[in-house]
Amino acid sequence: MNYLIYVISLIAVYGILTVSLNLSVGYTGILSVAQGAFMGIGAYAAAILLTQWGFNFFSSLLVGMAIAGLVAWGLAWATLRLKGDYYVIASFGFQIIIYNIFLNWISLTRGPFGIRQIPPPQAFGFTFLGPLRYAILTLGFLAICVWVARRVGESPYGKVLRAIREDEAAAASIGKNVSRYKIVIFTVSAMLASVGGAFYAGLITYIDPFTFTIHESIFILALVIIGGSGNVYGSVIGAAVLISIPEMLRFFDVPTTVASPIREILYGALMIIFLRLRPKGLLPERITTGVRR
């Protein structure tokens, strides 16, 4: 039973991450492979502040968001003037740098040893100890992230984002400041990803640099694509499906050295198959025409 609740928490964590990436990839068409890095920033901020500085989980969450937001703003400002593939290269390089920082700034991150025994969140004298309480908290934050993403994505603001995705020049020609929209949405996306990272750290209670590699970024991208890019609920569904199906491998007698490559091959292959046969994903984007009042 505890295991089931654990899987639900994990789904909620990846739901947050997928929703966050969907804002930049799905709505705005900014393809980024740095989401794992922003997740890592959130996770490390929470882990370091909780274990060494005696911070509260929720204040460390805010600090992580602030750091991720600032870094993302800087990166976006410097590189979002690039189109398409070039931007991807920049985010790819950024992902590798952040990984190198986690790995090599040993005095801060303990490098390859990782950070252990991350304590559970506490608020107003209440400790979110035990899988059930943690799952409820994580699901609550997933709900908040979904709400934020829908407020942003399914509003006139989101329509502009979609316009930028479809045709940047056209969006600019009707007076929209394309770079500013891109920088803002990229920053918001990174901040939400850091929330996902902090909850990841709290759930696993141990983090090391090897979690936050480009593979993690690609995994989150796969969740966005398979769930349905441009649809917030699709992201949650995508995370639920792709986290829970491979977890079932545990019930068969497969050794971990084989099980984890098979799991990854599964999602890599699914990503290719979906792009070929159902590029809109499990829950396709719904575009409302006209203005609803």
């Binding site: 590189t79 920049a90 390089g93 590798i96 190198n100 490559p261 990503m271 792009l275």
Partner: protein, 297 residues
């Protein structure tokens, strides 16, 4: 003393840089004509290393035969990537983003196939000891392998330059790069040209992989850094310019090694990324500007 250290680092930089130059043109050879961001190039690079390991160490083939075999199989992998992953998407009318996402998917699959077949332990490919013994020259040392690396890269770069300028296929690749539609209209078999460019890029990357593996050993994770360097070299050199990519690769190698003077070596990729950001900010068209301008004149 300082001067000798500087010279030694410069030489190391040129050796590493000549491999980076190869990586740069290998990626350009694919990206320029096809406009596909071929992330699976990372896996082809790693696979080339494992093919070499399997032939030379696993089955005891002589080294030159193993290298040729690894190059050939890598070329075939590149061709398969185009046929299996990209060309069906192109026929569907998918855009660059879908191609790239599929490439990520293919990368994940291939990477884990490596883990299933060869496990994640580091591997080495043994070569004659003579090649790795340093030759002292004054206060400097370099190995025969270093010299071979530089010469092989130089020959490969020259060969690519001649191929692009003087052969029919090379010219066709440049035509497809500039104007795929126009190339099709004039009767150039564009699909076939794309296969050639994947084959060429993949055997070039196998050459770079060979030198990396015999010198530093083999792990499943080495591909990502190789592709990062390759793409940075391509952008810094100006997309579509082979000589630009080669020069940029050389420059990144030198910058990384001179950087070690002041900064510890873990931050190598940080240096190459900083080069990229500087270029993006101040010279987004690369060293030589965009090659297209030359055609328009």
């Amino acid at each position: 003393m300082e001067f000798w250290l500087f010279l030694q680092l410069l030489i190391n930089g040129i050796v590493v840089g000549s491999l980076y130059a190869l990586l740069g043109i290998s990626f350009t050879a694919i990206f320029a004509p096809t406009k596909i961001f071929h992330f699976m190039h990372a896996s082809v690079y790693v696979f080339a290393g494992y093919f070499l390991y399997q032939f030379a160490m696993g089955w005891g083939w002589p080294l030159p035969v193993s290298i040729l075999g690894a190059m050939l199989l890598s070329g075939v992998m590149g061709v398969l990537a185009e046929r299996v992953i990209y060309s069906p998407l192109r026929r569907m009318g998918a855009g660059a983003m879908e191609m790239l996402l599929s490439s990520f998917g293919g990368y994940v699959v291939l990477q884990n196939v490596i883990l299933l077949i060869w496990k994640s332990d580091p591997r080495t490919v043994r070569i004659p000891e003579v090649l790795k013994n340093g030759i002292p020259v004054g206060l400097l040392t370099f190995t025969p392998l270093d010299i071979m690396t530089v010469i092989t890269s130089g020959v490969a770069l020259a060969a690519v330059a001649i191929f692009m300028r003087s052969t029919k296929v090379g010219k066709a690749m440049r035509a497809v790069e500039n104007d795929p539609m126009g190339a099709t209209i004039t009767g150039i078999p564009t699909d076939w040209v794309r296969l050639v460019s994947f084959f060429l890029g993949s055997i070039l990357v196998a050459v770079a992989a060979t030198f990396h593996v015999v010198d530093k050993g083999l792990e499943p994770t080495i591909g990502v850094n190789a592709v990062l360097v390759a793409t940075v070299a391509m952008i810094v050199g100006g997309v579509g310019s082979y000589s630009g990519a080669a020069l940029a690769g050389l420059m990144i190698g030198i910058a990384e090694n001179l950087g070690i003077w002041q900064i510890s070596s873990e931050w190598k990729s940080t240096i190459s990324f900083s080069v990229l950001v500087l270029f993006i900010l101040f010279r987004p068209r690369g060293f030589f500007g965009h090659r297209i301008t030359r055609y328009e004149g």
